[in-house]
Symmetry: C2
Subunit: 230 residues, 2 copies
């Protein structure tokens, strides 16, 4: 009786087709300017069918977003694997996140939505939970690197790995948002290159939590960072 299995496989496939259609539309028009009718048309299905697979437009939006999180997480794993020490890995992650920001800007834009729950009207608890689980995975990766760094004597003993992770990731993220929205403004009005600020901020933080030993080893690593491409 392989029918059950085939049906489930086809159902999963449909789910994914819908997701792909939704992604195309959301990437082009953003959440508020996309319509379910448009997504349905793109998926060559009726609107009603979309609701057999996703509870709401916002859930569908989050589902697309999880693809972005997957991509980001995968990228992080690869970067960590390619790095030879926790400190180097963290520095490479900061470069990789910038690369993600540049190459996967559409996903980065979607992440905004998660940050402002005031805007959530129809996000289901399950979908929200699923997102949280997914980000937790990446946080864990990041926190573990700090823990390893501390263990290996590269970071000061008195810093808490999760705290360091929050600080670095949050500030990196917020500067990327600023680059996204205000890059030209800062360049024109104050001649500030926000891309440089991003890397300097990350380097400054790492320097301030590194031990002297680590500082001498990694100082050369952190010079010569990219500049604005906007």
């Amino acid at each position: 009786m392989g029918i059950q299995e085939r049906k489930e496989r086809e159902k999963e496939q449909r789910r994914d087709e819908i997701l792909t259609a939704a992604q195309a539309v959301f990437f082009e028009k953003g959440l508020t300017n996309s319509t379910m009718d448009e997504i349905a048309e793109k998926a060559e299905l009726s609107k009603g069918t979309l609701y057999l697979y996703y509870n709401s437009k916002e859930d569908l939006y989050l589902a697309v977003m999880t693809r972005g999180f997957d991509l980001l997480h995968q990228m992080c794993v690869e970067v960590v694997e390619r790095s030879t020490s926790p400190v180097e890995a963290i520095w490479n992650l900061s470069k990789a996140y910038f690369e993600f920001f540049e190459k996967q800007r559409n996903y980065f834009h979607m992440f905004y939505f998660l940050q402002s729950p005031t805007l959530h009207k129809q996000v289901s608890a399950e979908m929200m939970e699923s997102c949280t689980q997914q980000t937790n995975k990446t946080w864990k990766l990041f926190i573990d690197l700090f823990q390893q760094g501390v263990n290996e004597g590269m970071f000061r003993k008195d810093i808490s790995p999760p705290e360091a992770a929050v600080i670095l990731w949050s500030s990196a993220n917020s500067i990327l948002i600023r680059i996204d929205n205000e890059c030209e403004r800062w360049k024109e009005q104050l001649n500030v290159d926000l891309v440089q600020v991003y890397f300097r901020s990350n380097a400054l933080f790492l320097e301030s939590v590194m031990t002297k030993k680590a500082a001498t080893t990694f100082a050369p690593l952190m010079s010569n960072v990219p500049t604005a491409t906007a």
Copy 2:
């Protein structure tokens, strides 16, 4: 011929009454869950009238938001006036911003909206420009403090005041957002007190850009920070 003047005064008053009604509704329900009909009812006017004073729901939202920016800016000015040095002023500002976050949470939530232009459907260019001008004022205040600090030898000569301002403000802001959304999660899962992280992050940054001279003066200032109240 005082009629013209009276009319203008009354018009301005109406504008403000509408704003107050809108504020009450937006505070309670957020942007997406508030309706113009509800605001109209609160203002004891018809919906059509609202559109004689504001171009769109989103413009009205931004108009309420500027009240929050005014409040924040005023608070910053007072803090700077009460402080006796740039470094102390910056530290006090970081405390004041946290206080604003706690006491004016509703305004803080509104600020989110500015950060995600993907969601702007009907924001008018004028209203946007007005917001930008207003935030510029506060940025200037902040940047000037760093400049003074550099001039007085409290900050390293090699840091750029606008860069330092961006880094500190951005990271402070993003940690507050995290406190807003994820405070309990971090407490429960990793026993991390994000409020402490906020202050430690700010202190760490300031220490890393201060000269040794300033460091000895201000080290005591930065210990003993508030803890979570959530």
